[in-house]
Amino acid sequence: MSDAGRFDPALVAAGTAALDAMKADSPGLVLAVLISDDGFEVVRTPRMGEQDGRFASMASSVQALSEAVIHELQIGKGDAVIIQAASGVVIQQRVPGRSVVLSALFRTDESLGRCLVGVRNCTAALDAAISALPSGSSITL
């Protein structure tokens, strides 16, 4: 279920552009979803796929739990969450200082380093794009 209608169209447009750019740069990318902190999907690439919003909700929970662990262990600022499985790697990263998170699934033939670089570049691009939006401050933590 895309929840794009609940978000500022300018944010959706910025997210679409950033995710499409990541897709173009990362052949191993299977799915990338930009989610709000509370588990709603802002935009995804490719546009087809899971439609019930479950992945967005799970990604939100995973992000919150990982940040709770970081806080509990007092190990500094969070960077990325990596879930490595036999047939895929999920990498999540918060857009710095924003209440939106990028969650991306890669095939295992893509190196972990390349995946991380792709996600970092995308969140940096999203941060810049959101900063330029008139509504950008409302997406700040």
Partner: protein, 183 residues
């Protein structure tokens, strides 16, 4: 180490996070996120994974309190958390659009916990909406679940004393049931 896992469940805005903070011995672990559903419940943040608190009964015995997210879209967390629970506190917001529907939905979803342990229902915001009354809720539960005799209390989730009463009743029910089932 003996542990008793107790869930605090209920819809968004019922006071679950507040209740766990009021009861816990430790600083609670929270997973709150900016709430983008202000049209549904007008609060700044919402729990997206769990809240966690502890009550240490002795060096070898703990109550683990888990608060679950209130929204159905996080029901995978409900499935994870309910596996080890011996009891649950259901909080229902009396000034919600359909508080009875909320109670029934959570009762249905977590029915297995009632069947293996205890359940206590807390009605919050009853100062803002006096009805349904605790008596009316108990009638609904009795009609829908004839084998369930769920205590229904009004509660301010900020009040540790009232929450201790609820938790005590839950523990007494768990003990009493075990006593009657013992061979």
């Amino acid at each position: 180490m003996a542990e008793h896992v107790i869930l605090v469940v209920g819809p968004m805005g019922a006071g679950k996070t507040t209740a766990i903070s009021a009861l816990s011995d430790i600083d609670t672990i929270r997973t709150e996120a900016v709430n983008t559903e202000r049209d549904v419940v007008d609060k700044a943040t919402t729990t997206v994974a769990l809240d966690y608190g502890e009550i240490e009964l002795s060096p070898n015995e703990k109550i683990r309190l888990y608060g679950v997210p209130g929204q159905k879209r996080f029901d995978f967390m409900w499935s994870i958390l309910k596996q080890r629970a011996v009891g649950m506190i259901v909080l229902v917001k009396n000034d919600a659009e359909d508080p009875v529907g909320d109670l029934v939905a959570f009762f249905d979803e977590f029915r297995e916990i009632h069947e293996r342990g205890g359940v206590v229902v807390g009605i919050t915001h009853s100062d803002l909406a006096p009805r349904p009354t605790t008596y009316e809720y108990q009638q609904i539960v009795a009609e829908r679940y004839p084998s369930a005799l769920a205590p229904v209390f009004t509660v301010d989730p900020r009040s540790r004393d009232q929450l201790v009463v609820m938790l005590s009743v839950l523990a007494a029910n768990v003990d009493s049931r075990a006593m009657f089932l013992a061979r």
